[in-house]
């Protein structure tokens, strides 16, 4: 699969702390026909280059001193001035899940070592096509996401309807229809869409997860656990889900089950430091060993700053040790990555409540409620606040 000539003029940046690997990847790019290639030996120096000259494609190793590939990725993706950059991670298999989730959505890909030129060429073509020559389906789905994010539900729906005409069997589109229904506040319709997606592709993990999330919001923990468990048994390496599941176990009084699950996962994932630290932090949080939790979660966040679920845990730790300002800063960062994160708004509101800033708390919880109106917890809290202050909401 040769790279189309029109792509060959772009600027490529190769980031790797191993000189041999750096040279090898640059040589591969030269062999593919790319004309402009620069290299950097870690995330920090790469960032300096990105700031001073326009880089279209970044190929970065994950494990590097000073600044890891994931940290670099996070900085770039946080700044919409760099939206034009396509990103390819190069990683060892041990961190696959973390990297796969970091790269999910958008013009990002990852490649597992060892690899040969053909594989890199495939990935480069894929990310550049997404950027410069997206398929109609890709464009429609990207537009859908944009409209959904700006809460323009009518336009979002149009995009999806068009997309489903192109790929009528796609379970992903059904998943999006479910998300759209959620945004409209229709949980029943959403669950139906998710179930239909599972019906078409019984191993479609994201759909199980989505149903679990809906039931969790609705306060039906038993059903939520059932769906999370199914998702977990299909694909057990997802730390975010592991933690969601363990939290539900704690909530339903099955602390032993939660602990066994976290301990086992930690042993299996010891090669992925941030995931392992995250799980440990969660374990400390559940035992109210908050100082210890904070320590490991700060570490986990530093290694993998793009991971929202780590940030959620980190903020919780800050709150529990009595540093609400730090927690608020973390929530703000989450909202910068995903402006529609209802949970972050809700937790932010809870933090303000703990600080006795009632007005700000109401603002945040109301925002959370708008984003997730069917959440039992959020609705109940908002109602309580409204009654207390005799507010009309």
């Amino acid at each position: 699969m040769a790279i189309p000539i029109k792509y060959l003029q772009i600027n490529c940046l190769v980031v790797d702390d191993e000189p041999t690997m750096r040279t090898t990847i640059s040589n591969m790019l030269t062999r593919m026909g790319f004309k402009n290639i620069v290299t950097a030996d870690n995330g920090k120096s790469a960032l300096d280059i990105i700031k001073t000259s326009k880089m279209d494609l970044v190929i970065a190793d994950v494990n590097m001193p000073e600044m890891t590939g994931i940290e670099l990725f996070k900085v770039i993706r946080d700044d919409n001035r760099y939206d034009y950059i396509s990103f390819i991670f190069v990683t060892a298999e041990a961190r696959k899940d973390t990297v796969a989730r970091a790269a999910e959505g958008g013009a990002n890909e990852y490649l597992i070592k060892p690899f040969v030129m053909g594989a890199l060429e495939d990935k480069i073509k894929k990310v550049l096509d997404k950027k410069f020559n997206p398929s109609t389906l890709d464009t429609l789905l990207q537009n859908f996401k944009k409209y959904l994010e700006s809460r323009d539900l009518a336009n979002a729906e149009n995009q999806l309807i068009n997309a489903s005409q192109i790929a009528p069997d796609s379970p992903t589109i059904l998943l999006h229809f479910g998300q759209l229904s959620l945004a409209k506040g229709d949980t029943n319709a959403a669950i139906d869409y998710f179930k239909e997606a599972i019906n078409r592709k019984p191993l479609f993990v994201k759909a199980y997860n989505a149903i679990g999330e809906v039931y969790e919001s609705l306060g039906d923990f038993e059903t939520a656990i059932k769906y999370y468990e199914q998702a977990h048994s299909i694909s057990p390496s997802n730390t975010e889900r592991l933690i969601a599941l363990s939290k539900l176990y704690y909530k339903s009084g099955e602390a032993g089950k939660a602990e066994t699950m976290l301990t086992e996962a930690r042993a299996d994932m010891r090669e992925d430091v941030s995931a392992s630290d995250h799980l440990l932090g969660e374990m400390y949080l559940s035992k109210n060993e908050n100082e210890k939790a904070l320590e490991v979660l700060v570490k986990a966040h530093q290694t993998n700053p793009a991971e929202i679920s780590i940030m959620q845990s980190l903020a919780e730790a800050y709150r529990k040790v009595g540093k609400p300002d730090e927690a608020l800063a973390v929530y703000a960062r989450i909202l910068k990555i995903n402006a529609n994160n209802a949970l972050a708004y809700y937790q932010m509101g809870k933090t303000y409540l703990e600080m006795s800033s009632k007005q700000k708390a109401i603002e945040c919880i109301k925002k959370a409620w708008e984003l997730n109106p069917f959440s039992k917890e959020i609705t109940a809290d908002l109602k309580a606040l409204a009654e207390k202050d005799r507010l009309d909401i």
Binding site: P114, M117, P202, S235, M269
Partner: protein, 407 residues
């Protein structure tokens, strides 16, 4: 007390495992002294380390631990060396004055050698009846009888001590070996893990070289080197993953993967080796998205392909088929070669760890024998099955399934 009763009593003391051994001996000596109505009774054991007789139990505790050299001429050593009871009256005793004593203070003494089969174990001494009379014939016979019983127990106790020491040594050796094995395992792990880096660059650079315009002999060099670096890569990855899969430590990460596309890519990766062996491949099926761990299933296909290539004669064909079950229950991937096939009794065993088909039937090779084991485990981690059957046109067909439903 009758002889039977006395023996029974002593037996009871000796079999009581709750008591320390020396304590038991002490009680035996006391019982014997009482029954024989003597002033003193003692038990001496042969110490093979320094060739002495050592007092282990005595009615007079002060002499416990005292030693007599086996070479010294004393009544006890005499009984032991003669291998017969030694009875001495005052007159006879004066001949056996130990070197460190002026004389025996006793009137009458009886020493019984303790022997188990051919092993001399010690001596049982009785000294001076309280009534100052001679030991009777019955007493001498009884003493001999008791000596026999005592000898058996003492021998057993000695053996037990030896055994316990050996067991202790064994346990220590086992602990040491376990520590060494752990060290070796982690060291091997580190070495194998660290090999991944160099292999990545060697593989990538040789692969790049293979795209250049090379002369046929250059191309052959590059392809041969590539073939073996691929082999090395598979070996390293298989070793690392087989242990993880076995321990259930490898958590699969499912993604949307087009299995047809994946098979095509894996076949493409072997183009150099296929050229080298002048082999061809076919791929049947249609694009089909399933949810699998792309890396694990990709490497399964890759391991099965190389297995087929290495067992096929030159100029033959390998056929890969992707079959989607009509009921949409599972996807089936099969890889057929035109090699010599696998005899029925080995069809299961080839998936065993480190198994190699014997020479002559299928050529033996220099691999770790982990390729098929990895495939089996990787497929099982997805809930699927892997087996081998005879290909209709000769050769073998390896088939694996991936369920498309939650099992």
């Amino acid at each position: 007390m009758t002889a039977e009763k006395l023996l029974y009593k002593i037996e009871n003391i000796l079999v009581d495992d709750a008591r320390p051994f020396d304590d038991k001996l002490h009680r035996v000596v006391k019982v014997l002294a009482a029954d024989f109505k003597v002033k003193k009774c003692s038990l001496m054991l042969v110490n093979h380390g320094d060739l002495t007789l050592e007092v282990r139990a005595a009615t007079n505790p002060a002499i416990i631990g005292c030693k007599r050299k086996l070479s010294d001429v004393t009544i006890a050593t005499r009984a032991l060396i003669d291998d017969a009871p030694f009875y001495a009256d005052r007159k006879r005793l004066s001949f056996f004055r130990p070197p460190d004593a002026t004389r025996y203070a006793s009137e009458h003494s009886l020493s019984i050698p303790l022997k188990y089969q051919d092993k001399k174990i010690g001596v049982l001494n009785f000294t001076d009846r309280k009534d100052k009379r001679k030991f009777t014939k019955q007493q001498q016979t009884l003493a001999l009888e008791i000596g026999k019983h005592l000898a058996i127990h003492l021998y057993a106790a000695q053996m037990r001590a030896v055994l316990e020491r050996k067991v202790g040594q064994f346990e220590e050796t086992v602990r040491q070996l376990e520590r060494l094995d752990e060290l070796k395992t982690s060291l091997t792990g580190f070495i194998i893990h660290d090999l991944k880096g160099p292999i990545t660059t060697i593989m990538a650079n040789l692969d790049m070289l293979s795209y250049e315009e090379l002369t046929p002999s250059q191309a052959e060099c590059v392809n041969l080197a590539l073939r073996d670096v691929y082999k090395m890569q598979r070996m390293v990855m298989n070793i690392l993953d087989v242990s993880k899969l076995e321990e259930g430590r490898l958590r699969i990460c499912r993604e949307e993967v087009d299995i047809y596309d994946l098979a095509r890519r894996e076949i493409d990766a072997f183009k150099n080796i296929l050229t080298l062996k002048k082999m061809t491949t076919t791929l049947e099926g249609a694009p089909h998205v399933c949810f699998v761990d792309e890396n694990l299933i990709g490497r399964t296909v890759s391991n099965l392909l190389i297995n087929a290539i290495e067992h096929s004669p030159d100029h033959t064909e390998i056929a890969v088929r992707i079959l989607c079950d009509a009921t949409k229950e599972e996807v089936r991937v099969s890889i057929s070669d035109q090699g010599p096939g696998i005899p029925d009794p080995l069809k299961e065993r080839i998936f065993d760890k480190f198994f190699q088909v014997e020479e002559g039937k299928r050529q033996s090779r220099t691999t770790t024998g982990l390729g098929l084991t990895f495939c089996k485990l990787a497929v099982a981690a997805h809930g699927g099955r892997l087996w081998v059957e005879d290909a209709p046109a000769g050769g073998s067909t390896f088939v694996f399934t991936i369920p498309e439903r939650l099992v």
